[in-house]
Subunit: 250 residues, 2 copies
């Protein structure tokens, strides 16, 4: 929408536990907020099962479509952790012990505790760059434009900071949220008119039900602060004119 | 994996608010658990933006790939609600006021309150079947094997029960979760051996951190109760032999 070069990302959540409904994915939200803050927009998320052919197909399709791909899940020590081997096959590169990863894990565990399962976590594309893990030792890895992270949210969260200097983003995407005491259908027409006059700002409208009361959050997003502020002024003016209560502004 | 005919589903989450990280998707979990209970397996989830061409492309690709497709989001009254029109275009059918939907909404609102925004919610493929909404009036709709539901979780949840007699599922997928006081790398080898002996059961291993203590949940899934129970016995035996504490069984 703007003139700036758009930097895009796709996320691939690898895990039967999300597809079965057992686990609610929260890594998408963590990754998206962080990527937004460094000027990278998430354009698509896919949740796929722990099946090698499916992982390869999706990684190879999406890595051509977006600037960056992030995968979560499937890099632990158990039989259902097949992400690293699948990624090696997707890139058609050697899969085996990564020297640096092996050495990190060997030092991380007490002598005698670096067993088969733990050694498996040092197996990945041997040419990959490591993504260090300050929480639990086992690193993620990066090959080409694909970044492979673990599925456990707290561990993933502790690892992404290390990538801030690796990724090349655009201007950060700025946003303002205005929460109103109204219902969508009361403001739909005016918001449409404002959207039509502000092509460089994305306006979203999201109903909410909080503390027993209905409301609507208007979220405006742009990488251009001036245009964002201009759009905000137009919304503020219309809200004031209509006498709609503002519940919260963030 | 089993001999039964597999009935599959895909989910398409339509919404910039999930891609921006602002909203965490919980509809996938609701849909997946419900679909599992009626013997339908979710094979893929995609989160895509509110862009017409993207919606059309994904719907047309996935509806050929799976038995059922569920979309969430984008069927409200505002300018960014474009799911219904996009679906009509994907199926190349007429988009306009759906007589029954119009009449439901006209009756739902007080005289004089059925404004433009609300009338928009009666617009959809004119030949669609309605999915009734006991919470807030505005119906979802079904065309072909595609079922379009709203994005607000509580409303979506109230609507899916009405589909139990419409969808044709297979045998329900049964599961047992055994939560152990151990770490994945300690049990990886034994669980791999058990998985190799139980091809008709899917075994997943998920580390957790609860009340300050580490553990691993072993989730076994199958539509065959006898095979599921057999696999469970093997895991129980190994856990007992190793002296691993069972935290919880569900």
């Amino acid at each position: 929408m703007t003139n700036r070069k758009e930097i895009t990302a796709g996320i691939i959540i690898i895990g039967n536990e999300v597809l079965s409904g057992r686990t609610k994915d929260i890594n998408t939200s963590t990754l998206a907020k962080w990527l937004n803050s460094i000027g990278i927009e998430v354009k698509e998320v896919r949740v796929i099962p722990d099946i090698e052919a499916t992982i390869i197909e999706n990684v190879n399709h999406l890595r051509k479509k977006f600037n960056y791909i992030f995968t979560t899940g499937g890099i632990g020590p158990t039989h259902d952790d097949i992400t690293a081997e699948s990624i090696a096959k997707a890139f058609n590169v050697e899969y085996g012990f990564h020297k640096e990863a092996y050495s990190i894990l060997e030092n991380y565990y007490k002598p005698g505790e670096f067993n088969d399962g733990r050694q498996k976590m040092a197996k990945m594309p041997t040419s990959a760059n490591l993504i260090l893990n300050p929480t639990s030792g086992a690193p993620g890895f990066n090959i080409g434009n694909v970044f492979c992270l673990p599925g456990v949210p707290s561990i993933l969260q502790s690892m992404i900071g290390g990538l801030n200097n690796v990724l090349i983003g655009g201007d950060p995407i700025l946003s303002i949220t205005i929460s109103l005491r109204t219902v969508e259908s009361e403001i739909a027409k005016s918001i449409t008119e404002i959207q039509n006059k502000n092509n460089d700002v994305e306006i979203g409208s999201y109903p909410f039900f909080r503390a027993g009361k209905l409301g609507v959050s208007i979220v405006i997003r742009s990488s251009n602060k001036k245009k964002l502020d201009g759009c905000y002024q137009q919304i503020y003016k219309f809200v004031e004119k209509k006498g709609i209560e503002i519940v919260e502004e963030v």
